[in-house]
Symmetry: C2
Subunit: 365 residues, 2 copies
Amino acid sequence: MAKLNVTVVGSGNWGMAIATIIAGNTSRHDEFEDNLTVWMFEEEVQHKGVKRKLSEVFNETKENVKYLPGITLPEHVKAEPDLKKAVMYADVLIWVLPHQFVARTVQNMGKIKDTCVSVSLIKGGLELEGGKLGLCSDLLRKLLGHEVGVLMGANVANEVAAGEFCEATLGIKDKKHQATLVKLFDCRTFRVTAVDDIPGVELCGALKNVVALGAGFCDGLEYGGNTKAALIRIGLQEMKTFIRYFYPEVKDSTFLESCGVADLITTCFGGRNRKCAEAFVKAKGTKSWDMIEKELLGGQKLQGTLTAQEIWPVMQKHNLCDKLPMLTTIYQIAFEDRAPWAIVKLPSGMPTSAFHEDDGFFEKK
Amino acid sequence: MAKLNVTVVGSGNWGMAIATIIAGNTSRHDEFEDNLTVWMFEEEVQHKGVKRKLSEVFNETKENVKYLPGITLPEHVKAEPDLKKAVMYADVLIWVLPHQFVARTVQNMGKIKDTCVSVSLIKGGLELEGGKLGLCSDLLRKLLGHEVGVLMGANVANEVAAGEFCEATLGIKDKKHQATLVKLFDCRTFRVTAVDDIPGVELCGALKNVVALGAGFCDGLEYGGNTKAALIRIGLQEMKTFIRYFYPEVKDSTFLESCGVADLITTCFGGRNRKCAEAFVKAKGTKSWDMIEKELLGGQKLQGTLTAQEIWPVMQKHNLCDKLPMLTTIYQIAFEDRAPWAIVKLPSGMPTSAFHEDDGFFEKK
């Protein structure tokens, strides 16, 4: 059997970090061609006082000096700035681009193999069509016409690249592809669990950023650890209620994987959404989200407020606000001048658990 | 219908805190007699320079000056130092004593109503009979001969008493009692969800302290947020594997309630088990658990190391060590001089998720 060629489409911080993991596996497992191709969008960089092309510097030094400085990748990782060349022989494409570049990149990539499969590592982008909640992996599947899985989890790029232990969840339907793709990602420091639930895996990644705003409000009000744990738990439950409304087939167990509870915990204790939401409360109405973003994030964008604004009309259109009191309250605190302490005044008499099979919510709707 | 009399058996820190919650509900709901009795073990205390009885001071001031100083309970909470008098008219007994005093207290309490029901808030005590894992609520049920539920959750007593928002999980079988008991505990700042899964609720409370040792090792080694989130997630999964081995009927959903994920999060980020385990790693083998306990806890006992030692022979006897690599590693680091970084070198090829219904583990055993 021919060995599988793998290409990472994207060479930002997370793309380079996952390339370090994948490169270890392509050389370790017989299924894969050793060489790993990374499509690197060409940029000029200053390197040792000289203006040079990023991909050339990478191919000489095996370091992405702009997006993952300090980490040397294995010799068999090759940067390819020509998109068509990067993908034409690929059997597996790993998508790790900003959401907004996906469509254009697919249009420009030319012919790919008919047997190709893809995995999307693109986080946080929601596809909203006609007020329905959609997935970035659906968009990719539509554009590419082949199978698309997703990989999400509690993964900060620099920690993954440095070989710190963490986990991720692979969502993919086809069982044979599942086994191969687990081999492509899983290693001793990056533990991958496969599930067949793509919407569950992908949507947890987007919604957790909104819950993290709630955790940040809680920190800004200096509430104790029990209150914060309660809010994280209620947030996880509302994530499930929301996702299940659009994808009733999503399983309870997905929320207990790395993509669910672990990613949520990391985001609610570290992460920029939590941090900015804390600052928002401490500023007592004197600072806008834009100002806080500028002060604290040094050019990076805040995902949670964006997602909160994207899902708000969807929640209203589908009459979900009553079912999602915490997500509703987070939106109102963030954008409608509601008092931040409303976060702990959720209406009583709510169905307090979305995890009971017998709560009747999904039957009633 | 006669109003229900409620007695809290125990007047320590958590007993007094839950009495503040219950007292609000006995006066708010018609089902209950307003007056709430607290059985207060008689002690002498210094109060305003005079040696006095704790229960007398409480009944004058409505403050338990020794165990919950600074909080004034409502007028209708009465301390009763005579155990027999405290329980003889009770329709509901709330057990909140140290585990080791349960049997003796039941023996000394005399006649109680035939229709009485109990709720145990006793955390952390495992009943090990012949190498099998048992429950403190089983012991109570055997001794009392009536229905016994449990209430557990992410609840630090002082935060609950101060009215900070948190949640708890009530485990009880009988549906009619369930509705009444939710009313007894649930209020705006203390949100109670009822489930019918007693072993799940009770055992989470004990095992989380062992997982918290792992979180403390992780902190002592200064690993990042993703690693810690991964360990918490794996710990939750192993709690489930362990509990399910002895109680196969326990539900996935229980682990997503306050007693499961929320209590685990609080314990792994705050809490004394985490703190002492961090100190243990940082001492690099120079300090015993006893020394650390003495230095950091000021007389309080460390629960996680005790539980780890209790469950270790049970794990060995039932050949569970292979199925529980993290709990095994935590024990070995704590008591067998294994290197603390073994916590992130869990064997690969493990069934990485105990939450998949199709992993075949329970069929195989």
